[in-house]
Symmetry: C2
Subunit: 250 residues, 2 copies
Amino acid sequence: MTLESVSIYSPLIAKLDTLMQLTDEERRAVSELPMMVRDLREDQDIVREGDRPTQACLLIEGFAYRYQAMGDGRRQIMSFHIPGDIPDLLSLHLSVMDHNLGTLAPSKCGFISHQNLHGLIRAHPRLGDAFWRDTLVDGAVFRAWLTGIGRRNAYARIAHLLCELVTRMRAVGLQSGNSVRLPLTQEEIGDALGLSTVHVNRVVQQLRADGLITWHAKVLTVNDWEGLKRAGEFDPTYLHLRNHALAAVA
Amino acid sequence: MTLESVSIYSPLIAKLDTLMQLTDEERRAVSELPMMVRDLREDQDIVREGDRPTQACLLIEGFAYRYQAMGDGRRQIMSFHIPGDIPDLLSLHLSVMDHNLGTLAPSKCGFISHQNLHGLIRAHPRLGDAFWRDTLVDGAVFRAWLTGIGRRNAYARIAHLLCELVTRMRAVGLQSGNSVRLPLTQEEIGDALGLSTVHVNRVVQQLRADGLITWHAKVLTVNDWEGLKRAGEFDPTYLHLRNHALAAVA
DNA sequence: CGTATCCTTGAAGGACTTCAAATGTTGTGG
DNA sequence: CCACAACATTTGAAGTCCTTCAAGGATACG
């Protein structure tokens, strides 16, 4: 990728590139997609349960997450999202949102109307397949989380989540060395993995003591990748990354 | 639906009907889809983790489930499937299976080649949308399970699962009165909800004692639908059923 | 530099698991 | 149609992983 091609479309193209080999023509079509760009603060809802969106939200910069609110004020976080993701792409074919989407950090978002998305897909069926594929990978991640919450203890669960996030960020070039910028609190980790904040804290300390990670000031560094993978029984197959993207993970 | 139209395609058409209003032309196209029909015994794997299927499996009769095997022999069940479902439809765009698909009861399956499925979608784009939509609902169910396993206690979790299964079966006409045929063991419930068999047993007894259900000889009867819904905090929105299918649930 | 947020620590309690064994049910072949 | 094996459900008791409650530090940001 040349320098001049770095734009608000770069994260999306990098992401699509992990899903499918793009032609120049397809790359051009994507980067002509009309988009309304907005800057969002931290902790802001983008779409809410019950909404009927007419557009989808491409995350360009920042960090987002999806969650379901319980009756008693607790919540279950069901996914974290990084630049290039379109977390509510499912609204293209599911008219009513069954969960919320919000930011975890100050973010830049590009809103794309369903109409334009449908048009792009009609003109470029292979891109349609890539988008469909993207929503299927989304589902695969839910399945992996199910296995973690249902059958793994807290230590393995947290290790697995960290492996997933690092792998996904590396695949779209968001790492620097062995570090990634992770603007997550321990409370959010807990809400994602079905654990209390207190317990997350104790387990994270254990991961540090075991020499697997250092995590400070929203920067996560993996000191022992093999060890962390082993601890979380992490196998990246379920992310269905194309080989070149997996290779970046080593 | 007239009597003469009852065929091996009926479950699929009933299912697609919960997703989208079908035209007669689309109905005809679906029922001309070439299909290799096979009868399967109970407890038989249909597709395994690591496989690269070239066909998808339509469940015509019986009961199926998807699961991931852990290193230590335990497993996490991630979904249950009823006639009309195509549990491995995702293989259409995800080349490698990241989980297993098997039968829970003697079943009749129709195997449809990816090639024919792609052909159908090309000729009838609206059906393609319906299939995409189906995989999105699949994902919505995973999210609902995530919330259950992550944040609900055993009592609510089991109640929620029973509500979901009854609702889905009713939507395609598989109920009889307040009863459905559920060929699930308590062990399988446990493997799906992240609970031990022993604990499932105790909680099911509680549900019975509370007058919500009777469950015997693989037949589940709901005695107090409102009570069961309340116990599981069940809201069917996430199943994204069309109104007519939801109405059948009352 | 103060205040809100996040991280950390200790202690007590609870939901669920594990182990072990008895009882009940279903299907099969003699 | 009974006998028996295989499987599923049920019960009891002990233990554990994780939660909850409570409070003290550290860190970040205006």
